[in-house]
C-alpha cells in the first residue's frame, strides 16, 4: 500500500514538472498596429558568437506570394563602455543583393560582423515586401547584445 501511494505522488510530481516546463519563456514580441497587405511578420536575431564575432539573422514574411521581399536597410549601432550609442555600420539592400529574395512568401537572411569585446550592439532593420499590387515596409529593432 505504501509503495502504491509513493508511486501516485511520483507520477503527480512528474506531471507537475512537465507543466512548468511547457510554460516556457516567451521572447520579446511586438505588435505593430499598422495593418499591412504585404507584411505579415518579421524578426531579427542579434547574438554573439564569441571571439568578437556578432551574428544577425533576419526573417520577413509576406502576407502572400511576393515578387520581392527582404531588407532595405540594416543599421547597426554600438554602445561603448561610457554608455553612449553611435552608428557602427549601415548596409543597404541596393548594395547587398543577398538582402532580397524573389517570388517567394518569406525571406531568411544573415550577416556577420566583428565587434569590440565588451561593447554592446543593436540592429535596426527596415524590411520590405512587394507584389503586383504594391509594396510596404516596416521597422524592427533587435535586442541589445554584448560582444564576447
Amino acid at each position: 500500500m505504501k509503495r502504491h501511494i509513493i508511486a501516485v505522488f511520483v507520477v503527480i510530481a512528474i506531471l507537475a514538472g512537465c507543466v512548468s516546463a511547457s510554460c516556457a519563456y516567451i521572447p520579446e514580441t511586438e505588435i505593430n498596429p499598422q495593418a499591412s497587405l504585404y507584411l505579415a511578420a518579421y524578426s531579427v536575431t542579434l547574438q554573439p558568437l564569441g571571439d568578437g564575432e556578432m551574428y544577425i539573422s533576419m526573417t520577413v514574411e509576406g502576407t502572400t506570394l511576393m515578387t520581392k521581399i527582404g531588407v532595405v536597410e540594416m543599421y547597426i549601432e554600438e554602445r561603448t563602455p561610457t554608455g553612449t550609442w553611435h552608428e557602427f555600420d549601415t548596409l543597404y539592400g541596393l548594395d547587398n543583393p543577398e538582402f532580397y529574395q524573389y517570388n517567394t512568401r518569406g525571406y531568411l537572411g544573415e550577416y556577420r560582423f566583428d565587434g569590440t569585446v565588451g561593447n554592446y550592439y543593436r540592429v535596426t532593420l527596415t524590411v520590405f515586401a512587394q507584389n503586383a499590387n504594391g509594396y510596404d515596409s516596416g521597422e524592427i529593432v533587435s535586442v541589445i547584445a554584448p560582444c564576447r
Binding site: 507543466v19 511547457s22 524578426s43 512568401r105 524592427i140
Partner: protein, 285 residues
C-alpha cells in the same frame, strides 16, 4: 487358470501367487472384484494376493503422506503453494484481499488522472470541467470533419510533399505541425529556407484563392525580436495546452503567433477564426 478357478479360493494358490508378476496378481484381484457378487466374493483369495504384493513392496504401507507433501513442496515450491492456497480454508479471505487490491488500484488510477486534469487545466487557465468539456468537444469536432489535404500528390515536382516531411528532413523533427486543415483546402507548396544557424518553413494551403499559411521558424529565444503586423493594437492571449498564442487580425486574415521550444509558429487563416483555433488544436494531436 480358468475364470472358475479364479472365483474359488484355494490355499495352495498362495504358492502359485508368489511366482506371478505384480501385474498378473492385480489383474486377478480386479477380475475377482468385478465378477463376484457380494455373497460370492472371495475376500480370502484377494487378501492372499494383496499379501504377496505387500511383501514385494512394503513401502506402500509405510508411505507417510506428510513427508511426501514436504518433498513435493521442496521440488515444486510455487505450484505447491498455489495448491495449498486453493485448497486451504483461507481461500475466501485471499479472494477478498485481491478484490480490495483491485479497487485500490482503480482508485489510484482515478487519482492520477484527476491530478493530471487539474494540473494541465490550471496551466491553461481553465477549470478542469471546462478543459474536459472542451477536449471532448474538439475531439468530436475534428473527428466529424475529415479536413483538407495536408500533402501534395505523389507525382508532384515539389521537393517536399508535406510540411511534416520538410520539418523531418531538415532537422526539425521536434517542431509541432498541423494535422488538420479545413475541408476543401489543399497544400499548395512548402518553402524551406536555411541560413547558418536558423531555418524557416512556410506551408501554404488554399481553396478558391482563400489561403491558410503556416510558417515555422527556428529561433534563439535569448536573442530574438519578433514583430507582428495587425489591424488594431489589441490582441488576445489564448492559452492552448500550456502555450500562449497571440491571436490578432491583419487586413484579410486572423493570425496566431506562439513560440515554443526554440520555434516560432505563425498561422495565418483567411477562412475564419474558428478554423484558426482548430488548426492550433491540431498541432497537439
Amino acid at each position: 487358470m480358468s475364470e472358475q478357478d479364479l472365483l474359488k479360493f484355494n490355499p495352495e494358490d498362495g504358492k502359485e501367487d508368489i511366482q506371478k508378476t505384480d501385474k498378473e496378481l492385480m489383474d486377478e484381484i480386479i477380475f475377482l472384484l468385478e465378477n463376484s457378487s457380494a455373497e460370492e466374493l472371495d475376500t480370502a483369495a484377494i487378501q492372499a494376493k494383496l499379501s504377496v504384493l505387500d511383501e514385494r513392496d512394503p513401502a506402500a504401507e509405510k508411505f507417510d503422506p506428510e513427508k511426501g507433501w514436504e518433498a513435493f513442496i521442496t521440488a515444486h515450491p510455487f505450484e505447491a503453494k498455489a495448491e495449498a492456497k486453493t485448497d486451504s480454508a483461507e481461500a475466501q479471505p485471499v479472494r477478498r484481499k485481491k478484490c480490495i487490491v483491485t479497487v485500490l488500484r482503480v482508485f489510484e488510477v482515478a487519482v492520477v488522472l484527476a491530478a493530471a486534469l487539474v494540473l494541465f487545466s490550471s496551466a491553461s487557465g481553465q477549470s478542469p470541467v471546462q478543459t474536459f468539456t472542451k477536449w471532448t468537444a474538439d475531439l468530436f469536432s475534428v473527428a466529424a470533419n475529415p479536413g483538407g489535404e495536408l500533402e501534395l500528390p505523389e507525382d508532384s515536382d515539389s521537393e517536399y510533399l508535406s510540411l511534416r516531411e520538410a520539418l523531418d528532413e531538415n532537422g526539425a523533427q521536434d517542431a509541432l505541425c498541423p494535422t488538420w486543415i479545413p475541408e476543401g483546402f489543399a497544400l499548395d507548396e512548402v518553402e524551406v529556407k536555411n541560413n547558418s544557424l536558423y531555418k524557416l518553413f512556410i506551408a501554404t494551403y488554399s481553396e478558391n484563392g482563400v489561403e491558410i499559411t503556416v510558417s515555422i521558424s527556428s529561433q534563439s529565444q535569448e536573442w530574438i525580436a519578433n514583430m507582428l503586423e495587425t489591424t488594431e493594437d489589441t490582441y488576445i492571449e489564448q492559452p492552448v495546452n500550456g502555450d500562449t498564442y497571440y491571436v490578432l487580425a491583419n487586413v484579410e486574415y486572423a493570425m496566431a503567433f506562439c513560440t515554443k521550444n526554440g520555434y516560432a509558429y505563425n498561422i495565418r487563416c483567411e477562412s475564419s477564426k474558428e478554423d484558426l483555433f482548430l488548426i492550433i488544436d491540431s498541432l497537439y494531436r
